[in-house]
């Protein structure tokens, strides 16, 4: 295997639910050996659980949930997976819209 145990994305980050006031979950599947450490960033700021953000790890699936979306939550989110063999990066663009009446 070319990669050894380097982290790789089996599914890239995708965004679900993008209306102001709703919650959005960015989700991706990442494998690697040893199990990679996953971090989420927006505009170079690391996002950790707490307040409106929650990070969840469920086997190979990693999720970032943003609660009570505002228009300012729009933008590019980056997911970084790192272990002792290497690191992998992928991004997702979130567009938060006003609800349509």
């Amino acid at each position: 295997n070319l990669f050894g145990g380097a982290p790789r994305f089996l599914t890239r980050p995708k965004a679900f639910a993008v209306c102001v006031g709703k919650d959005a979950t960015l989700s991706c599947t990442i494998v690697g050996s040893p199990t990679p450490l996953i971090t989420w960033e927006k505009e170079k700021l690391k996002l950790t659980s707490g307040g409106r953000f929650k990070t969840v790890e469920d086997g190979d699936v990693y999720r970032l949930t943003i609660y009570d979306l505002t228009l300012e939550d729009s933008g590019q989110y980056m997911c970084r997976a790192k272990n002792s063999v290497g690191e992998a990066y992928a991004a997702v663009t979130l567009k938060v819209a006003l609800p349509t009446e």
Partner: protein, 102 residues
């Protein structure tokens, strides 16, 4: 005459700044759209990768391109530009790769 159908290429998401450690693997994924499926090029210093360097590898699907660099070296640092084009247009974006000193 036949009308032009489809959509121009668009880079949907690509990390802007990434970092890697010397000797390790680095993988960068960029998602895109476009119809017909755009042609994909990763360019560094005017050269299309992998450019004969076996440490570089590019894998593409219909909406995702992945650049992989194995055994990262200090002089891999710099700007990597993703270029897409199809008959309706083109799009490009750049990733800055930093190499962390050990």
């Amino acid at each position: 005459t036949k009308g032009v159908k489809g959509t121009p290429p668009k880079i949907e998401a690509l990390p802007e700044e990434v970092s890697a450690e010397p000797g390790k693997f680095l993988t960068l994924a960029g998602s895109f759209s476009g119809d017909p499926v755009p042609s994909v090029q990763w360019v560094r210093s005017g050269r299309t990768l992998p450019n004969g360097d076996q440490r570089y590898r590019v894998e593409n699907t219909a909406d995702l391109t992945t650049l992989m660099i194995s055994a990262v070296k200090e002089d891999d640092a710099g700007a990597y530009t993703l270029k897409l084009s199809n008959e309706l247009g083109s799009d490009s974006a750049t990733v800055n790769v930093h190499i962390r000193s050990m």
